[in-house]
Each structure stands twice: as structure tokens, then as C-alpha cells.
């Protein structure tokens, strides 16, 4: 106990260099814990992009690619699946619900997705959370649109705002569906998923836009169909991009998947969202692991800095050691004193680092949420965090053993003689 006090007073006497050492460790701990926090939350948020859907069905392609365009709205489908295939699969005895997804149009950089109102009741994200309307309701009219939270915020749209969809998915499009503007009927609450950046319209509405198109070009003159005329037409699409399936039981998943993969009428594939997500994450995971490794090294750098500071101080503290020896301190006291010093510095660094991390998190939370749609909850450190912190302290003790051993040897040689 007395040694602890001595170590503390000795450090206090060298408070400037001790403070710098603590700060270096604290910053590295903040970085490590921060990276860990973002890493876990990003992974959780990623894994929670789609939940409650048992199968994603689309034309044959890679499973990651199907996931990318049907859920993340990244890239484009190379081909469509036929509407009658959709109807056949939806009628499968084990299928409880089926949601069509049709992509290909955009509005000022945001993807437009044609679907049915079932989407709002069956699509789940996070821990089985349903989509919530912040304002208005699902589309009802042919030209109604439901906006994701980011779309509404960034384009500053309210209920009733009119928007003209563009053909194709580029940020700037030259071919607009100006003749058939949509009206905002609902705005979704934030989900932290790509849903936030999507404009949802009815499948029929999307079909109405293209009903008079021929060979991927808008109709001219008399061939044009006005918005009102379109309402009278049979607006069944010929094809869709993909479909999401909910089954009556989880157990049926593999059987249905097999049935779809052997679908006789069209080459189709069905993927399990969880499996595809994991496959995709294993691609992204390299960057995430690299980040972790980098922050581990930053922590090591902090500890090496501490080692340097203590080692550098040893020579000028030979007098201190000799005095302690002369008043009865044994070499093992000298050893413990220096070990306590290293441990104390690391502990102070870890605690300050924790405090800094939570402060940063508290300050950055709203910014991260609004910029990246990633909500990072402020939760107490988990088991893994404590393990990491414990490992840092352990490493500090191991490294502190180096100057402690040197001081021990030195005090054996110097004994009571004061050398400076």
C-alpha cells in the first residue's frame, strides 16, 4: 500500500511526462474502443438491413449480386424475371407472402422501387422491426409515392410534394417521365438501411410510366398515353427485378429454395438473405479487420511510448532508488515500484480513454446518424471491450517488467551508493 503511494507521488513529481504518457495511451484506447464500437454497430446494422425475409428470388446471377441490387440498391439487374413466374412462385403452398421488387427508375439520384403495399407490412429490418410511417400512409393512388427518410430530408419534400421520375438510374437523367408526375403520400421513419434512400411507388404506377414506351424509348405523338388515360389500362407488368418471400415456416426454406432453383419455366435462383449478407460481409470484412489491427498497433505504440518514458527516467532516478534502498527498501520493492508505475500509467490511460470514447460518442452520435444513417447506441462496455482493456493492462504489466527488471538489477549493483 505504501509502495502504491510512493509510486503515485513519484509520478506526480514527474507529472508532465506522466501526463503525456497517459494521454498517448488514452488516445490509443479511445481509438481502439471507438473502432470496435463502430465495427460492431456497422456489422449489426449491416446484418439488420433485411430480416424476416426467408428468400430473395431473382434471375440467375451471383447471390451477392442479387442481394446488392434487390436490398442495397447497388448496381443494376442484368435481366428481369417474368411476371407469370412471380405469380407461380407466390402461389407455392409454403409461401405466406411474396413482395415484388421492380427497379430501374430514379429521381435525382435516389432509386425508385416499384412494389406492392405488402412491402410496408412484411419488410423487416434490424431486430424484426417493421417499417413505420413518420407521416402519411402507403401509396393508394396510381401516382402516389412513399419516400425514405433521407430522400425526404435531403430533397426537402413534404406530403403532397410532386416529383417527376427519371428513366434509368443515373444522378442526372435526360429522359424524364414528365407527363406523369407522382405525389408524396407518405414518408417513412428512419431505419438506417437503404430503405431510407429509396422512393417507393406501386408496381402499377411504375408500369403506367412505361406503358406507352416502345423499345426503351418514350412514345411520340399519338402513341402517347396520358396520365389519366393510363388509369384505365390493365397495368400488369411483364416482368420484375426480384421478389422477397416469406414462408409459413423456417423449416420449409431449403425445400422452397430447391423448388425455385429447379423452376421449370424460367432460370431463377433463390438465396437466403442471411447467407448472402454474410458472404458480402466477408468481402467487406477485410477492411474492418485491417482497421482493428491498425488500432491494436496504435495501442502498442502508446504502450511503447510509456516504456520509453519510464526507461528514460531510470537513469536520473538512480539516486531515488539508492535512497530507497538505504532506508530499507529491498530490490523487490524497487521492482514493484516500477511495475506499479507502469500499471498506474496504463490504468489512468485506459480510464481516461474510456471517458474520452464516451464523450466522443456522445458528441458524434447525431452526426454519424445523420451522415451515415448509422445509429451507435451509448451502451456500457461489453465483455469484449473489457477483455481488450484487460489485455492492454496486462500488456502494460508485461512491458513494465522491462524497466522494473532494469531498476532491480541496477539497485543490486548500485546498492547504497549514489551515482548520478
Amino acid at each position: 500500500m505504501y509502495l502504491l503511494r510512493l509510486a503515485f507521488r513519484s509520478l506526480l513529481n514527474r507529472r508532465f511526462s506522466a501526463l503525456l504518457t497517459v494521454l498517448a495511451i488514452a488516445l490509443s484506447v479511445t481509438l481502439l474502443l471507438g473502432v470496435e464500437k463502430v465495427r460492431t454497430e456497422a456489422r449489426a446494422s449491416f446484418a439488420g438491413t433485411i430480416s424476416g425475409t426467408d428468400l430473395i428470388v431473382g434471375p440467375r446471377t451471383g447471390s451477392v449480386q442479387l442481394l446488392l441490387y434487390s436490398v442495397f440498391r447497388i448496381g443494376n439487374a442484368s435481366s428481369n424475371m417474368r411476371w407469370d413466374s412471380y405469380e407461380r412462385i407466390a402461389a407455392h403452398p409454403r409461401v405466406q407472402w411474396a413482395i415484388p421488387v421492380s427497379l430501374g427508375d430514379s429521381h435525382r439520384g435516389f432509386k425508385v422501387m416499384g412494389t406492392t403495399t405488402d412491402y410496408f407490412s412484411h419488410y423487416r429490418h434490424g431486430r424484426n422491426q417493421q417499417l413505420q410511417f413518420r407521416a402519411g400512409q402507403a401509396f393508394d393512388d396510381l401516382y402516389d409515392a412513399v419516400l425514405g427518410a433521407d430522400v425526404a430530408r435531403e430533397l426537402n419534400y413534404q406530403l403532397g410534394s410532386e416529383l417527376v421520375l427519371a428513366h434509368g438510374t443515373g444522378a442526372v437523367s435526360f429522359v424524364e417521365h414528365a407527363d406523369k408526375p407522382f405525389r408524396v403520400s407518405g414518408i417513412l421513419a428512419r431505419t438506417g438501411t437503404p430503405v431510407d434512400r429509396t422512393i417507393h411507388v406501386s408496381l402499377r404506377g411504375l408500369e403506367a410510366l412505361h406503358v406507352d414506351w416502345q423499345k426503351d424509348m418514350p412514345a411520340r405523338g399519338a402513341a402517347q398515353v396520358s396520365a389519366e388515360q393510363a388509369r384505365e389500362l390493365e397495368l400488369t407488368p411483364s416482368g420484375i427485378t426480384a421478389m422477397l418471400l416469406g414462408l409459413d415456416s423456417r423449416v420449409a426454406t431449403f425445400a422452397v429454395q430447391r423448388d425455385i432453383n429447379r423452376f421449370p419455366h424460367e432460370p431463377l435462383m433463390a438465396v437466403l438473405p442471411g447467407v448472402a449478407l454474410q458472404e458480402l460481409w466477408s468481402l467487406l470484412g477485410v477492411a474492418e479487420k485491417a482497421l482493428f489491427v491498425v488500432s491494436i498497433f496504435v495501442v502498442l505504440t502508446g504502450l511503447v511510448g510509456m516504456l520509453t518514458a519510464i526507461l528514460a527516467s531510470l537513469n536520473e532516478r538512480r539516486r531515488e532508488m539508492a535512497i530507497l534502498r538505504s532506508v530499507g527498501a529491498r530490490p523487490r520493492h524497487i521492482f514493484s515500484l516500477l511495475l506499479l508505475e507502469a500499471f498506474g500509467l496504463a490504468l489512468a490511460g485506459v480510464l481516461l480513454g474510456l471517458a474520452l470514447m464516451y464523450l466522443t460518442l456522445w458528441l458524434a452520435q447525431p452526426i454519424i446518424l445523420s451522415h451515415y444513417g448509422l445509429f451507435i447506441p451509448i451502451t456500457p462496455p461489453g465483455l469484449w471491450d473489457w477483455t481488450l482493456l484487460g489485455a492492454i493492462l496486462l500488456a502494460a504489466i508485461v512491458m513494465g517488467g522491462v524497466p522494473a527488471w532494469r531498476a532491480y538489477r541496477q539497485s543490486l549493483i548500485d546498492g547504497l551508493s549514489i551515482r548520478t
Partner: protein, 237 residues
């Protein structure tokens, strides 16, 4: 006859790979005795103090402190023995700069249960013992106690060091050139105080110095060069 505090017999010592540095046939220090040991720097003085502190062991011969053979003890036992029975005063900068005056004085009591016990028996508490010594050494002005030790004058620092060596009444006080940084007036005053307090504590005093002017004040004076048979053969190192 009571047991001598220090008893050296046929002690030789050499640092590894170096010629014999110390060769002392006989040296004793009786209880309560004040001995002046004259030794210029390089005469093996520091090494002798290391041997007496049990930090080094002699190559041949025996060193007994209070009748106990140091070589027969384990390393940590020797350390404890030193802490229990001897106090040290060095040339200068004796104090730990990060402790207060009182904390510096009570330092030995944290490493020696025996000295802590003795201080308590005499004065009630370790702190009371320290205050008592300070008062006797003329350092009891309250503002002095609040100052960082680095702001004390060298004379004051040496008196604090003396108090530290004396707390808990060790049988032996070893002073290694404690007055060499002091001017002539303070030197004698310091010695006088040291003598009185050593007597009060019942401690023997081994005073090592090259300053021959002081030797007349002691019970006995010895020259390390005469004592050390190795010095004449190997010359001054």
C-alpha cells in the same frame, strides 16, 4: 562485554576481474561509540559501506553486525536487517523530492516494522517521533514542514536526513561525508546535533569523511588507508 555493533575479521573484497580493493584484518565498533573513518575518495570507502550494508558480501572473512554474520543471511534477510538496525546519511540530496519533510523522515518506518515499533513505543506514533527529532534538530518551524524539501537549505536537508537515519533508534548510524557540502560553521553545529541525537537514540556512529579537521571531535579515529592492507600494495585507485 556487550556485542560489538560492527565486527570485521580478515575481510577481503574485489570487484569481479579487478585487483583486491579491500583487505581489512580487524575492525570493531562498540555500542555507543563514535568513530571517525578517514578515507579519501577511491580508498574503497563506498565499497566498505556496501559491505556493511550487506549489499555486497566479502570474498573472504566475516562481517558481523550486532553479532550476526551477514554472509549467513539470505539477501532479503540482509536487507531487512539493514533496515532494522542501521540508518544512513549521504553526502547530499538525501531526500526524496516528492515527499514532504515528515514523510521523508518516517520513510524507514515503512520498510522496518522494528523501527516503527520502537518509534511508537517512545513517542506514541511515528509522526510524533519525527516531530520530536525535528524539534531537537531545530527544524520545528511549521512553515518549514510545509515547504517542498527541495526548497530547504543544504544544512536543513542534512538535518532532515539525520532525523531519518535516527528515527526508530537503529543501533548503527552510517554517515558518508554528510558535512562535505556544508560550510565550516554549520558543519560543527551539525555534528554536535548528530552526536547528541545519536547518544539519545543509543546509536553508534560510523562517520566517514576525508575532512581531517573533524576527527578530534570523535571518540576514535581511524584511517581507511592504514586499515586497508590492499591500499598499500595496489595503491590508491
Amino acid at each position: 562485554m556487550s556485542t560489538p555493533v560492527i565486527q570485521l575479521e580478515n575481510v577481503t573484497f574485489a570487484w569481479p576481474g579487478r585487483p583486491v580493493l579491500l583487505d581489512i584484518a580487524r575492525f570493531t565498533l562498540q555500542p555507543g561509540e563514535r568513530v571517525f573513518l578517514k578515507g579519501p575518495s577511491g580508498s574503497g570507502k563506498t565499497t566498505l559501506l556496501g559491505l556493511l550494508g550487506g549489499v555486497q558480501l566479502p570474498d573472504t572473512g566475516t562481517i558481523r553486525l550486532l553479532g550476526e554474520d551477514l554472509a549467513g543471511m539470505s539477501g532479503s534477510r540482509r536487507d531487512r536487517f539493514r533496515a532494522d538496525h542501521s540508518g544512513y546519511i549521504f553526502q547530499m540530496f538525501n531526500l526524496l523530492p516528492y515527499l514532504s519533510v515528515l514523510e521523508n523522515i518516517t520513510l524507514p518506518c515503512h520498510f522496518s516494522a522494528l523501527r516503527q515499533q520502537r518509534a511508537r513505543q517512545r513517542h506514541g506514533s511515528v509522526e510524533a517521533a519525527a516531530r520530536h527529532l525535528l524539534a531537537h534538530l531545530g527544524l520545528d518551524r511549521p512553515e518549514l514542514l510545509r515547504q517542498p524539501v527541495t526548497e530547504l537549505s543544504i544544512g536543513q536537508q542534512q538535518r532532515v536526513a539525520a532525523a531519518r537515519a535516527l528515527i526508530g533508534n537503529p543501533e548503527l548510524v552510517i554517515a558518508d561525508e554528510p558535512t562535505s557540502a556544508l560550510d565550516a560553521d554549520t558543519r560543527e553545529a551539525f555534528l554536535e546535533l548528530l552526536f547528541i541525537e545519536c547518544q539519545a537514540a543509543g546509536s553508534s556512529l560510523l562517520f566517514v569523511s576525508h575532512d581531517a579537521a573533524l576527527e578530534s571531535l570523535f571518540d576514535r579515529s581511524l584511517s581507511l588507508r592504514e586499515l586497508n592492507r590492499a591500499a598499500s600494495s595496489a595503491g590508491v585507485i
